[in-house]
Symmetry: none
Subunit: 195 residues, 4 copies
DNA sequence: TATGAATGAGTGTTCATTCAT
DNA sequence: GATGAATGAACACTCATTCAT
């Protein structure tokens, strides 16, 4: 009873995402996933070889999703505008920040499928990371941005902003705008009028 | 059977720190700690009532360490310079970022000692956080910084910078300097000479 | 790995009862229960959330069993005859005397299922206890029994008789009869003929 | 600090008794005993070979205490009066009821000292039990009490009365008096006046 | 496909006990 | 005598994983 609609990978991913958002990586147990889907625990093994496999596949899909959006950013835009678009996309895929931790936690495992995804994920993640870095460097070379700032550092600010607790309070749009205001112009007040 | 050379709380804290840095909160198991110290698992219970107790005591010590340094920042400095000093201190205590997660994970437990530390930690953490926010607001009121940027967002940048992977590559000093350059003046290049 | 013949709650209850009778509450370890059932320890957790849950569920079932029999005692009987029937029923459910201790020992735990059963058990136990007391008082008010004897004391005699080691030697029927002979008429010999 | 008065067996027995009364057999841990005495845990092993040894020695002392009082009951008294005195003594040594359980729990242990005490205790307990039975049988033979009631059953009532929760409410004297009223004359009301 | 049933390795925790000093 | 330090066996409990049906 309850279910009986034929389970799909989609369903499993959705529940995984749900738990991931509510309780983080540690909260994702097969028991919990199965319970929420109203399915036997062992059924999940028909879809994924093991837990890491599920998690990695989920992340891979999320990553692919995101990459597609990133690829849609018009190449013609100035570098800093491209970076702004990238930031917006990142802020809509906050689960991504767990990839890092996940890849680290998995170091011991050596199941085939998992290893494959892990590699792929790593590659994808680095590709986006490097893309971001290239754009930063482009902005520098165009003379728009300062050479004196390490590109990696700026990348870190952008990438780690998905972790900021204030995102919830401010909303994605507003946060992105203000963060970019800082990145581009800094906090210093050039207004002549005293506060 | 009482053969070893005398374990100290220090020793346990050191190993805890080691593991915390290598594998994060989830990696800290009493078995692992005990193994690295070459002691029996139960021996640790002579020093700490339970795992939470150890973790919280460690964090508390770290926090106290940090707070002492924060208190030594001269009150006479301008707000932005105080924030710079604060950033430097934060970057030397990167394990701090786990306090937040830890406090959240511990919500279910109710062991006496743990609860006491938890409360204290929470208070300490908030105090530092609020101090940071007050300084940011001071800089705004003095007209030095823009009112248009949310103070919490800036706080997040500063606080989360302890997570940046590039810290290792750049070194604390250099990273702090560059991060502050961005925060104060932004990336925009006002140089007239094209690159 | 799913080889065994299918374990039922019944099986677990039976073994629990066995151990309870042989070694008392303290003797009930999941390891022992599992071993006697020739199952892995963790298998038991598929049937009961935790140890308290098992114990309480067992007791609840026992109590329900007993209460049903108690309710079948005809209300029309004189109070002392009702008490006699009650005594007979009690003597057939000797494990009951551990409920009291168990409820006390469990005070620290707060697992959901356990708490629910605990409350229920407590209510059931008190209901029977109070029923017994009411019947005793009825016998007094009808003038059949002495007002000078504390009802609680008499209740204790009846309730604690399930602990008497001699029950095994004498058999339930015989013991109940003799115990009631004492309760009603006392030991004093009113026979005129000397032994 | 604190202690330093020279520890005596007495001190240990006193604390043991304290815990035994407060928390029962399960509550007696060497750690707790040592803590209350403000002494190192290992110090206790200078006085008792192990935990069972302590417990049994404590019980042995208690038993000896009691036996001495029992032996002071004048042989010249009628059997039922002797039994009444015995009941009074029993009610003042309620910890005794744990001997039974303890002896059962110890079945596995085979430490020398413990075994010795165990045997002795068993003997002492049986001696008192048998004494009680002889008195009961004497009362029967003198024609004062009914032959039809099993002596063991009556013994059980007397012996188990130390467990009655109502003892606290009624007080030892009052409970003993009323219990004996039941035992001798029963509950039946022979008053001519209706209630 | 799906699942019910069972499991084993690992984790936190307790406690009696040992031993060098 | 006394103790500080350390330990191992036992227990409750969790969770990913397996397998016959």
């Amino acid at each position: 009873m309850g279910r009986k609609k034929a389970l799909t990978e989609r369903d499993i991913f959705d529940v995984t995402e749900e738990i991931l958002k509510e309780e983080g990586l540690q909260g994702v147990h097969f028991k919990k996933v199965a319970d929420r889907l109203d399915v036997g625990r062992s059924t999940l093994y028909e879809y994924f070889e093991n837990k890491d496999d599920l998690l990695l596949a989920y992340m891979k899909r999320l990553m692919d999703d995101m990459n597609q959006k990133v690829e849609n950013i018009p190449a013609s835009l100035p570098a800093n505008e491209k970076l702004y678009k990238l930031l917006l996309i990142l802020l809509e895929h906050t689960q991504l920040h767990q990839i890092d931790r996940m890849i680290r936690d998995l170091q011991s495992s050596d199941k085939h499928a998992a290893m494959f995804y892990k590699e792929e994920l790593d590659v994808d993640l680095m590709r986006t990371y490097n893309l971001m870095k290239r754009w930063i460097e482009a902005a520098k070379e165009q003379g728009a941005w300062k050479q004196s700032i390490d590109s990696g550092l700026l990348g870190d600010i952008i990438f780690h902003s998905i972790l900021f607790p204030n995102r919830e309070k401010m909303g994605v749009e507003s946060m992105a705008r203000q963060l970019f205001e800082i990145i581009e112009n800094g906090m210093t007040n050039h207004d002549s009028s005293p506060s």
